[in-house]
């Protein structure tokens, strides 16, 4: 009888040689079933599939359950869990430290659309290159269930009565601020979430992902779009989103002519949008505005890539940054030469 030697199977790796484990984080301390957890999983999956080294990503967040989640993915990435509503400025400053890194921000609807409205809008306006995910549950999770500004009109919550205000539409806000990548998705649709995240990482500019992410503890009423059941029932994907990395061969015949629309990103990768219902051109801002206007009027949860403008210069492109990351510049490149001081003093009169 021959002895069988058990060789542990080599863990699977991505093209860059990383295992899925290399992208994991600490165990989540969010509620079981929280939409934020499933988004965290898709972030892990997307980064793994993209093959970005975890050390090449920086994570940012504000304050909230959503903003806690960066500890639950990418433990090998630097991260900064900042202040409530003020992640955009923090991220902007930090990303200038090394422009070769990928920025990934995770925020909540309260964090972004309430206290953070101003910073969010200005980050978008500057087209700061980073992925900006809003985990949108329509409530304040961490403070135990108050209305977020994205709460549906008429929503009733324990202790807070009925929401009487018009909800903020995060995608509409992004568009109004001339965002160059605007998408909406639903935590209950993990495949779409993942493909959009991958595409967002390839975008050279701000990529806003408004992801409906149910709060199972404080706001999971079946008739609400912010719940799993409600979201599932109401979701209308505009198209099927498929991200094709730059290096991959493209098999056109996978798709019938006229059924797909492709957008080439700055880094050569392609977003392929497979037509589902009607035609939708995501490079037409006005079309996107109209769609959101209609969705709002008819209370629809439309998901997909709403708008993309792949070639507008990003904020980095607007500054004469050296190739070397700023934070690696040695003293000789930072302090003006000794001789200069005399000249300078001569100018002081």
């Amino acid at each position: 009888m021959a002895t069988q030697i058990l060789v542990p199977a080599a863990p699977q790796t991505n093209a860059s040689g990383f295992t899925r484990n290399d992208y994991k984080g600490l165990p989540s301390t969010l509620c079981q079933g929280c939409g934020h957890n499933s988004i965290a999983n898709q972030i892990i999956a997307a980064c793994y599939e993209l093959g970005i080294a975890p050390e090449k990503i920086i994570k940012f967040s504000g304050i909230g359950c959503s903003s806690k989640s960066p500890t639950y993915f990418l433990s090998r990435s630097f991260g900064f869990n900042g202040l409530h509503g003020r992640m955009p400025s923090l991220a902007l400053g930090a990303l200038f430290a090394d422009h070769t890194l990928h920025g990934l921000g995770v925020s909540g609807d309260g964090d972004t659309a309430s206290i953070g409205m101003g910073q969010f809008k200005h980050l978008v306006r500057r087209n700061m290159p980073m992925v900006y995910i809003v985990e949108n549950n329509g409530v304040y999770g961490l403070t135990k269930g108050q209305f977020a500004p994205t709460a549906e009109k008429g929503l009733e919550l324990k202790k807070h009565g009925k929401n009487v205000f018009q909800p903020v539409d995060i995608c509409m806000e992004a568009l109004a601020s001339n965002a160059t990548f605007v998408a909406r998705s639903f935590a209950g649709d993990p495949k779409q979430v993942k493909e959009l995240i991958k595409a967002a990482f390839s975008h050279n500019g701000i990529a806003v992902l408004d992801i409906i992410s149910p709060c199972v503890t404080f706001h999971n009423h079946e008739d609400s779009v912010h719940s799993y059941v409600g979201g599932k029932a109401m979701e209308i994907p505009l198209h099927e989103v498929i991200y094709v990395p730059a290096r991959e061969e493209i098999f056109v015949d996978d798709f019938l002519e006229g059924q797909t629309k492709e957008v080439t990103l700055h880094d050569g990768s392609i977003i392929r949008l497979k037509k589902l219902d009607k035609d939708y051109d995501p490079t037409d801002r006005h079309r996107a505005l109209r769609m959101l206007d209609e969705a709002e009027k008819n209370n629809l949860l439309i998901t997909g890539l709403f708008y993309i403008e792949p070639y507008r210069p990003s904020m980095f492109d607007l500054f004469p940054l050296p190739e070397t990351p700023l934070n690696r510049l040695p003293e000789e490149r930072l302090r003006p030469a000794r001789e200069s001081i005399d000249q300078l003093n001569k100018m002081m009169f």
Partner: protein, 617 residues
């Protein structure tokens, strides 16, 4: 180029003994937006070029055009740069304030005024020279729309004639101001000489004021504190500046914007610059960006004034607790609230010290001169990075926005201190050295300062997660009571360590002084003068100028060694005194308050009077 130069008006014959030479004060009264700044700084610079110690203070309104504004030019052969309470000479171009200004002229002083002002001159005890401004402008063929502006050149010409200011130097000043633009220089100089000629032909000098060349400014420079600070920061290797416009701080970031392309071209990569300046959407964003950049390993800063500092409160607390280096320049103006945005103050001391909820401590720096603005411009980064903590530099409007004669800026006398930063190999080394026990917030050296890695570090062990919530030595989220207390206590150790690095107080002594004076910042100038006056009246004083918080032990010594210690400051509540009281409770009763705030720099006379009257008690 050869230019006509006038040669002084006829003298009414003050004997040289009666003459007042290089020791008087001129106030120019105009309306803002009329371009008088050019005229005034031209005079200032000309006097400087004549080698005479001179200082200028701009008292301007918080609007853009049409309201009263004053510029005070003090000429002091003894090198006093403080504000005087009385004027020797008033040049009045503004009917709205004409009557009031006359009150401030010393007996025997001078009033020059535009004869377009048809109001009565009420003083009999002064020399009065009406100036036919419009007439001269017509003669000079100044176009209508430039008349307001050129009117100021008229008084430059007449005054220069009266005082004997060298026209060569006037010309140099114009040349500097207009950056060599010939047409502008010529047209202004034209009006000036025309006016001077008019004076020569029509005036009889019957006042005692004269300037005479000296050599007291040789080798010196003239600059405002904000420009100096911005330049210092550029020499400090500033890499990221985020700011939001606010008077009186705007010119700091604007100076950096101006000098960045000159001083900070990348010597390696062509066409690149090694510093980024971002005008943020507000001060919360400005400090947020700076904190982000500081965390990312950049020498990061922001500049602001009171209202902006108030908005930075939350972020400063985050930076303190996450141990993120960041430099904040607060160019103080009169608060509370919007207050007097164009007037000087030292009113943010206690606020800056206690800024943020919870227990916090900050490094505070107090530059006392333009030169020190430059020095703290670079040094603040060394401190922030060495100590991994926010550094707040408290300057003020007087220092920041006025032009001061100064020793030239010194090239930094130390290499950049980037503090405890670990790149890829450093980290491997430290991990080996500590048997794998590196943690972002671990105090390895016992000085309270941990080692930090920076984003981009590709060592797979390098990453850590920063947070404003409770964390342990390894950056992990922790709510345990002992962990919280341990980290917070270590931060206090770090603050003690800071004393090894912060600038020591500057002390000036007199023989047998039993009186001490303590101060911060720009009050140094009037204090210097007040001490001379007091000494002449028999009261010797020692002076300690505090340059940083945490307070140095020397300060306690100083207080102990004097019977009475006067804490001189520009605020209502005696804020510096309050902090000294907390730090040195054992000497609390030896501290006396000499504090006021009315928007003006303190005068030597007021300080002197305060000390004398409290001594008399």
């Amino acid at each position: 180029m050869e230019l006509e130069k006038p040669a002084g008006v006829n003298d009414a014959g003050y004997s040289p003994k009666e003459q007042i030479i290089n020791d008087f004060c001129i106030t120019f009264s105009t309306v803002n937006g009329s371009g008088s700044a050019t005229a005034n700084t031209t005079l200032l610079r000309a006097l400087f070029k004549m080698g005479i110690p001179v200082s200028g203070k701009n008292i301007f309104p918080s609007n853009i055009q049409g309201l009263p504004t004053w510029f005070t030019l003090r000429i002091s052969k003894e090198g006093y740069f403080g504000r005087l309470e009385k004027d020797d000479i008033v040049v009045s171009m503004n009917p709205a304030t004409f009557s009031k200004e006359q009150e401030y002229i010393v007996p025997g002083g001078v009033l020059l005024y535009s004869d377009a002002i048809k109001l009565p001159v009420t003083r009999q005890d002064i020399s009065v020279y009406p100036m036919p401004v419009n007439e001269i402008l017509s003669a000079a063929e100044v176009p209508q729309k430039l008349k307001d502006y050129a009117a100021n050149m008229v008084y430059v010409g007449i005054l220069s004639e009266l005082l004997r200011i060298d026209f060569e130097n006037i010309y140099q000043a114009l040349d500097f101001h207009f950056k060599g633009k010939e047409a502008a220089i010529r047209s202004n100089y034209g009006v000036i000489t025309l006016a001077a000629k008019w004076a020569q032909q029509n005036l009889k000098k019957n006042d005692p004021y004269y300037v005479k060349p000296m050599n007291a400014t040789i080798g010196k420079i003239m600059a405002d504190g904000n420009t100096a600070a911005g330049l210092g920061a550029l020499y400090g290797g500033a890499q990221f500046v985020a700011w939001y416009p606010i008077t009186p701080a705007s010119s700091l970031a604007e100076a950096m914007h101006e000098y960045l392309p000159i001083l900070r071209k990348d010597p390696v990569e062509e066409g690149k610059e090694t510093c980024v300046i971002v005008q943020a959407e507000d001060e919360i964003a400005a400090i947020g960006m700076a904190v982000g950049a500081g965390w990312g390993g950049l020498r990061a800063m922001t500049s602001t004034s009171g209202p902006g500092l108030s908005l930075m409160t939350e972020y400063l607390g985050l930076a303190y607790y996450t141990e993120t280096p960041v430099v904040v320049w607060d160019v103080q103006r009169v608060g509370p609230s919007t207050g007097l945005p164009t007037r000087t103050a030292q009113g943010d001391i206690t606020f800056a010290n206690f800024i943020g909820h919870g227990d916090t401590q900050y490094i505070l720096l107090f530059p006392g001169s333009v030169k020190e603005c430059f020095e703290f411009g670079w040094r603040a980064f060394d401190l922030a990075e060495r100590l991994q903590t926010p550094v707040i530099v408290l300057s003020d409007l007087d220092l920041g926005m006025n032009q001061w004669v100064s020793e030239p800026f010194d090239y930094p006398d130390q290499p950049m201190d980037r503090g405890k930063i670990l790149w890829e190999e450093d980290l491997d080394e430290i991990l080996e050295k500590t048997s794998d026990k590196w943690g972002r917030y671990l105090d390895i050296d016992g000085d309270g300062i941990p080692y930090r890695t920076l984003p981009g570090n590709q060592n797979p062990r390098s990453a850590y997660f920063s947070r404003g919530t409770g964390h342990d030595e390894y950056g992990a989220y922790r709510e345990d009571p002992e962990v919280w207390e341990r980290i917070l206590t270590r931060l206090k150790v770090k603050f003690e360590t800071a004393k090894r690095y912060t600038p020591k107080p500057s002390i000036k002594k007199m023989a047998n002084a039993r009186i001490g004076i303590l101060s911060v910042g720009s009050t140094d100038f009037p204090i210097l003068e007040a001490r001379d006056h007091l000494a002449r009246q028999g009261l010797a004083t020692d002076h300690l100028r505090i340059r940083a918080i945490p307070f140095d032990a020397e300060i306690g010594e100083f207080i102990r060694n004097h019977d009475a210690n006067y804490v001189v400051e520009i605020n209502r509540d005696g804020q510096l005194k309050q902090l000294l009281t907390i730090e040195f409770p054992e000497h609390a009763t030896k501290l006396r308050m000499v504090a006021r705030i009315d928007g003006l720099p303190l005068s030597a006379k007021w300080i002197e009077d305060q000390i004398l009257s409290q001594e008399a008690k």
